[in-house]
Every structure is written in C-alpha cells, then in structure tokens.
Amino acid sequence: MAAGGTKSWLGAPLLRPRVAFFELTSCGGCQLQVLNHEGTLLDFLSLVEVTDFREAMTERSHEYDIAFVEGCVSRSDEVARLRQIRRNARTLVALGSCACFGGVPRMKNRFPDPGLLAREIYGEYPMATETVRALDEIVPVDLKVHGCPFPKEELEKVVLHIALGKAIETPRHPICFECKANGNVCLFDLGELCLGPVTRGGCSAWCPGNRFGCWGCRGPADDANLDSLRAIAKEHGFSGEDLADRLECFGGFTPREAPEPSPRRKSRKRGTR
C-alpha cells in the first residue's frame, strides 16, 4: 500500500492521504465547492492524493484512505455503491447536508408512496426511486461536514486534521452565537424569520451576515430548543406553517426512520468505533 509522497506542513512531515470523491443523489455543489476556492486549491491538492473524482478526472482507482461522499441515498443501486465505498475506505466522510441528513431531497419523504410520485412525473416509464435516506441510515459514518454548502475552509481543516491524526470538533453552539459575535443586526428585528437560534454553528452565520434569515442547512445544534424558537417566531408574527417550511427544507430537523442494521466491514478498518 504505497502512501504517496511525503510533504510537510508547518515543518511536520505529512503523509499525503489518498482521497476519493463520490456523489449519490445530489446537486454536485459540494464537490464543486472543493474546486471552488482557487486561491488555496493548489495548496490543498498538494496535501492529498486524489485517486477518484469523477466530476473532475478520468483516472480512477479503488485505493483510497478517505472517501468523501456527497448526496443522499434514494435508489437501491446507491445503497450497494455506498456499502462498497464503506468497505474500501478507512474513513468515510459525509460531505454536505444531503449526505448528513438527506438534504433538500428529503422533502420528498413527505409523500408516502415514492412510486406514485415517479409515475406522476414520468408517466409510462416511472423511474426507480425510494425513500430518501442519509448515509448513516445505511452505513456507519466517521465524520459529517454539515452545510448546503459548507464553507470550503471547513473541508480543508477536516482533511488537514485527518492527515495529522488530530481530533475534529463539530461546533455545538447555535448560529446566533456566531451572528452576535459578528455584530449583525438580528433579522427578527428587521421583520425576517431566522432559524439561527436552533441551527448548528460553524458557517459564521453566513446567511444572516448577508441579511438573509438562516434556513437551518446545518441541522440542529446540540440542545436546540424548538419550542422557544416557535415562541419567538409567533411573537414576531410568523405562522407555524412558515416555520415548518423552513425546518423541513434541509432534512436536519426531520425525524428519521429506524436505521438499517449496519453491515460488517472488511479487515482494513481497524476498530476505532
């Protein structure tokens, strides 16, 4: 198992981890986010060895240490692909809200019969589709990068920390915390709805910073108090339906069905869990 060339980072030698990118049901945006920060892209690429990135390259390899998987699972062939990726990868990272919670596509689950929906849209050739699930409803996931999309710096930090074997901390506090620290005017005071009080931080209050209420793309913060948010929203004249539309948007606040039993994984994985 060759591990690629050796680089150093702040003087410390680094083993270039072999990383691969995959997409299931998604918009392609999370992968694009990897290519999207031109200023640091070349530095980032020197930190890792990319062995599979279908959106960007033709060369493919099944040898990789870290698999970044974008998108949710909505068809049986994706279940099989995801299981195969899990078997090959030492570390499986759920990239973005589709992978973490089902994302926007999870809204489909409010229709009880996906087959009926497929027939309605595709008529005589209904396409195979199933209930939308997040990755960890099918296989164990080592790490989640929340967001639709996530800030690129977050991904770079994740890769660096994996390469250095450092622990990765997921923020536990709500967006409000970051929003207030940034000195923004609260959107509720401007007559806008915002999910900042219940949404997990880490994006530096990206939307409120642009005077646009948070839609909860990073899912619930630890100890998110939905009742208190409902009270605040009501007090500011927003209907329960408006709030429900937002909470449903990215799948993070939607209750899950019971996960499938996790499959056994092959040897390469050393029991860290």
Binding site: G28, Q33, I121, Y125, R211, D245, C249
Partner: protein, 424 residues
C-alpha cells in the same frame, strides 16, 4: 486494438452527474449508439408543491450547484412575473452582472477543467498542474475573479444568499464594485491567452444540421427574459415555453427529452451565438469569427469557440454594467412584492442554455404547480442524434474503437451536460 466491437463508457467523467455512452459497431457499420442518463431523480417539482413562494428560489438553486445562480434568478423572475412585479433598472443590472459572473466562472471551469484535458491527452486537470502550470494558474485566476464577483453581488458563489424576490437583501459597496472593474480589465490578457490555448487545439471535423433554440435578442445579447426563438423560424413569447420544449419521457433515460420542428434541437452557447450573433459586442464577434464561428455553424465542437466569445462578451459588458451602477446613486435594495393568485414563467440563458421555470400560485402565494425545464434536458435528444451520426461516420471510415470512444466522449462533453440538473 479493436476495430469492430463494443464501446461502453459507464459514468462518463468530467461532466456533472451520471450518464453512459454505449456504441456497438460491426463490420464498419454502426449497430447502436446510445446516450443514457442514469442519474437519480429528485422530484423538485413535487417538493415545491404547497410551499410558499419564497421557498422556490432558495430550493430550486439546489437543482444544480454549478448553475445555482441561474436557477435562483430564473425562479425569482417566474415568481415576480406571476405577481406582476417589474424590477427596477438597478435590480435588473445587478442581476445581469451576477449572471455574467456565473457565466464566466462556469465557462472557464468547463474550458480548462473539463474540456482542455481531452485536447492535451490527459485524464484531468491535475497532471496539467505539473505540465502546464501557467495555464492552470490562469484558469484559477479567472475563476477566482468570477467567483469573487458572485460573492460580492450574490452574497455567495454557490446557492446565493442576497438574491430574493423583489431585489437584493444587501447591495455591494461602490468601492468594491470599482475594484472589480479594475480586476475585470486586468483579466483581459488572461482571456486572450485562453483563446490562444484553444486556438492551438484542432476542432474535430463533424457537422450535423441542427435546430438551435435560445432567447431572442432585443437590442442586446439576451440573458434574462424576452421572446424565444429557434433557428428554424419559430418565435414564441416567454410564457409560451411549453410549445418550445414539448417534453417527453423516454425509456432509457431518467431525464425527459424535448423536440420542436425536428426530432431534436440544441440549446447552449453555440445556439445563442448562432441565433444572436449580431448582438454580441464587436470584440466578441471578431473573436468568434477568428475561431471559425461565423453563424450559422452546425459543428457541436464549436461550442468551445462560442464559450470563449461569451467569456469576452460578459467580461466587457460587466465593466459597462459596473460603470452604469457607479454613475448613479443606489436606490433601495429591495421592494415589497405582494403575492397573488396566478401563473408566471421565466426564461433565462444559463451557461448550458435556456432554462425555464414556471409556477402557479394560490391566493396566499403558495405553490400549486411548479415546472422547470433544464438546458441539458433539452439537449439530451440532440446529444443522442449527434452521437449516432458521429459514430456512424467514424465506423464507416474504419476508425479504431479507442478513437471513436475518445471523440464520442469529447462530443458529449462539448455540450457541457449537467446531468443531475437535467434529472432534478
């Protein structure tokens, strides 16, 4: 080396989403050539049902990460059309500027990261970091400029945060806009170097007569709204998009296919330049002609030339838009829009071609019906027809499988298909 056989490209690379190419040749004759779309559908039109109007632009952006700005703007326009709201000039200009920035970033991404590796005989842009460092750095600079401009106007380069029904939540600072004026002008040498690079690549010799569909220019090269036109002479109002697309479901594809006067038609940069050449800025016209693109041309590989001409056009027009914005005092960023019962349609030219969003609302501004027709969806039928014709010609010429496979892949990539988008 096989001369007669089967070519299977499973999950074509360097395109967005999942598609397969399948070609069978026997004794120099084409038996089968197929472009299959196997992406998983997400049912956006159904997801939107019952949701309030402001959910639409925010959610439909998630149809596609690459052209999220185009989707957002099309969605906003459809909502505003339904509610009878006409945005003021300042909003229109800022939206066009944002649109131009997305076009530039998407075309540069396509030209350097997706298309150029084929012409340079490598599998991706990554080996070019070693062999063509200047070109890769140039691509990164141009993309960075375009993305930074998206950030400034739209709040974010992907899934923008400032673009809302009624206008913008926040306006860019004039000082920052002025900075971009300088950066855009400073990028012109990088654009000419890009043109030089592509000029050095041979354009594959292949043509098939095609119907081209786009917005119809009205005083300028069209991007947001207006009448619809086809090179076969069909003209329809924006609201008549259904007569322009005629979507149908086909067995081997999870995307719907379209037709107009013929079995298939093409949308995208080549269609736009073919239909609206006279509205390109003079510099872009000269550039297009120097690359062999004097309309109407039917070689799908000339799409790269069309992208280059559009890169120059949008860069120069962005400078002019910024000049206009800087010379007036900014008004309010956003106006109040009152929901009402009704229907609205929007047609917007996004990097890959004409995009339609249509919604029907109830009295409270909740969505009763939503429909999105995606450029790549409109192109699938034409990709199929081109693929058949190309494979047939090459098989008759006794070309090797590897060569057919290479050109077939390049052909599909020339359309810059955005497959997840087309399935949505």
């Amino acid at each position: 080396m096989k001369v007669a056989g089967t070519i299977e490209v499973h999950h074509l690379t360097r395109v967005e989403g999942h598609g397969n190419i399948r070609i069978r040749v026997k004794d120099g004759r084409l038996r089968e050539a197929r472009w299959e779309v196997v992406e998983t559908p997400r049912f956006f039109e159904a997801l939107l049902r019952g949701k309030r109007y402001d959910v639409a632009p925010w959610i439909t952006g998630r149809i596609c990460g690459i052209c999220s700005i185009g989707h957002t703007l099309a969605s906003i326009r459809a909502v505003e059309n339904a509610f009878g709201f006409d945005p003021p000039e300042q909003t229109r200009n800022l939206r066009l500027l944002l649109k131009h920035a997305e076009t530039l970033q998407s075309h540069v991404l396509h030209l350097y990261f997706l298309a150029a590796p084929d012409f340079l005989g490598v599998g991706s842009v990554f080996p070019l970091i070693e062999t063509h460092p200047d070109a890769v750095r140039r691509a990164a600079r141009l993309k960075l400029l375009a993305n930074d401009l998206c950030d400034l106007v739209g709040g974010r380069r992907m899934h923008p945060t400032r673009t809302v029904v009624g206008g913008f939540t926040l306006l860019p600072k004039k000082r920052e806009l002025a900075g971009f004026r300088e950066r855009l002008i400073a990028a012109l040498p990088d654009l000419s170097a890009t043109v030089d690079l592509f000029r050095s690549f041979p354009v594959p010799d292949f043509s098939r007569e095609t119907e081209f569909v786009s917005l119809l220019g009205d005083g300028g090269y069209p991007f947001i709204g207006g009448r619809l036109v086809s090179s076969d002479g069909v003209i329809r109002p924006e609201s008549g998009y259904l007569e322009m697309t005629n979507e149908r479901v086909v067995a081997h594809s999870t995307a719907k296919w379209c037709r107009l006067s013929r079995e298939s038609f093409a949308v995208g940069p080549l269609a736009r330049v073919n239909n609206n050449f006279s509205f390109l800025l003079p510099e872009a016209k000269v550039l297009a002609e120097s690359l062999g693109l004097s309309p109407v041309r039917h070689n799908p590989f000339l799409a790269h030339a069309a992208r280059l001409a559009e890169c120059l056009h949008v860069t120069l027009e962005s400078v002019a838009l910024i000049d206009g914005l800087l010379s007036t005092d900014f008004g309010e960023p956003r106006r109040t829009v009152t929901p009402r019962e009704g229907k609205g349609v929007a047609a917007v030219e996004v990097p890959r071609g004409i995009l339609y969003h249509a919604y029907e609302f109830d009295r409270d501004g909740r969505i009763v019906m939503a429909d999105c027709v995606i450029p790549t969806g409109q192109n699938h039928g034409n990709i199929q027809a081109d693929l058949e014709s190309l494979a047939r010609e090459m098989a008759a010429e006794g070309k090797q499988d590897a060569e057919i496979e290479r050109l077939a892949q390049m052909l599909v990539r020339a359309y810059d298909p955005c497959i997840s988008c087309s399935v949505h």
